[in-house]
Symmetry: C2
DNA sequence: GAAATATGTCACAACAATGTGACATCAATC
DNA sequence: GATTGATGTCACATTGTTGTGACATATTTC
């Protein structure tokens, strides 16, 4: 398997838990030495940048596919949730990273307009659904956005905890999410 | 105001964002020098321990009050949610800290059985409500527990973001939470 | 205003994390 | 079996973080 990708995968998991974690921990998780890690990424910043690009690519691909699979905006929303869940830790870390501009400045990550526009497209779905009376207009769109992100976080934790039957989790997530935003 | 407490408050906020953050950042947030911080807490471990105790105390007091205010288990659950929200970042950080035993070992935090028993008491409420048919028995108790914790996190973010009317947030949180677990 | 208390500034040693060079080792390929 | 490519080991300079001592400067209390 691609060593570079193996490092990125490990970095995403470790840095998601603790953003200031030393590179040794990432190397440890890949069964490679820190020296090898540095052969692929000269810099910590370069590694983080690679993680960001990887997460962004994965997320955008998943979201595009989810939206392309149907015309029904309700089904689109459901598929978007599943797509986020499939991205898992990537999705969570990406949003954590991009919602903390201080961290970005420190690591020199450029502002990514692709992300913003893509994201904004997804979340224009909500007002559209509200106009069609499929979601109560009482519930704030910003609130729904927070619930969406957090539902993916809950789901990832559920998978990791092992306390919940793996097969049920996705349906459970969609059930809880759609009810939390006032559907059905 | 109590300087010691001021430091703890700052530490909770900063460490919640980045657990490995240098002490300078905490000191900066209090408008005190790092030297003064070290006069109150000789050690980083000691400061973290103080944060843990502070969070635990605040949380337990809030939860006890919430449960003592009524006999109705449904109202109790609602009050518990509001209590968690009032604890805010404290609640989130406490759960983050106590759910990562690796971090505890590193900092020498002792396992706290008071926390576990108190927590377990609260979450015995769920099965009780399910037996009374107030919550669907279809929904897993572990899942509900995750939703509860995350709903508080969402609410704190909503307060911080400023995108949502402050007055509405608590009611919004209770509405979304109770529907997400299958009530009403 | 003198004494006591709290805080700031500076310097410093100890340690941890980073990034790199030099060279060894191992496996695959020719 | 010699060569190449990927990785490991070790050493090293550099930088960031930590905890502490010595002393200066307010601020409060008597």
């Amino acid at each position: 398997m691609d060593t570079r990708q193996k490092i990125i995968d490990a970095a995403i998991i470790v840095l998601n838990e603790d953003f200031s974690s030393p590179l040794d921990k990432i190397a440890e998780r890949t069964d490679l030495s820190r020296r090898t890690l540095h052969r692929y990424f000269t810099d910590r910043a370069e590694l983080i940048e690679a993680c960001r690009e990887d997460m962004l690519r994965t997320w955008q691909a998943a979201m595009l596919q989810a939206c392309g699979s149907t015309e029904d905006p309700l089904l689109q929303l459901e598929q978007m949730l599943y797509a986020g869940i499939d991205c898992g830790v990537r999705y969570i870390f990406l949003h954590k990273l991009l919602s903390q501009p201080e961290a970005n400045k420190a690591t020199g990550i450029p502002q990514n307009t692709t992300y913003e526009t893509t994201r904004d497209n997804w979340f224009q779905l909500i007002p559209a659904l509200q106009r069609r009376q499929l979601i109560s207009e009482q519930v704030n769109a910003a609130w729904i956005r927070l619930l969406f992100i957090q539902m993916i976080s809950v789901t990832v934790q559920a998978y990791q905890s092992g306390d919940i039957a793996q097969n049920d989790i996705k349906q459970l997530a969609w059930y809880s999410f759609r009810r939390s935003i006032g559907m059905e």
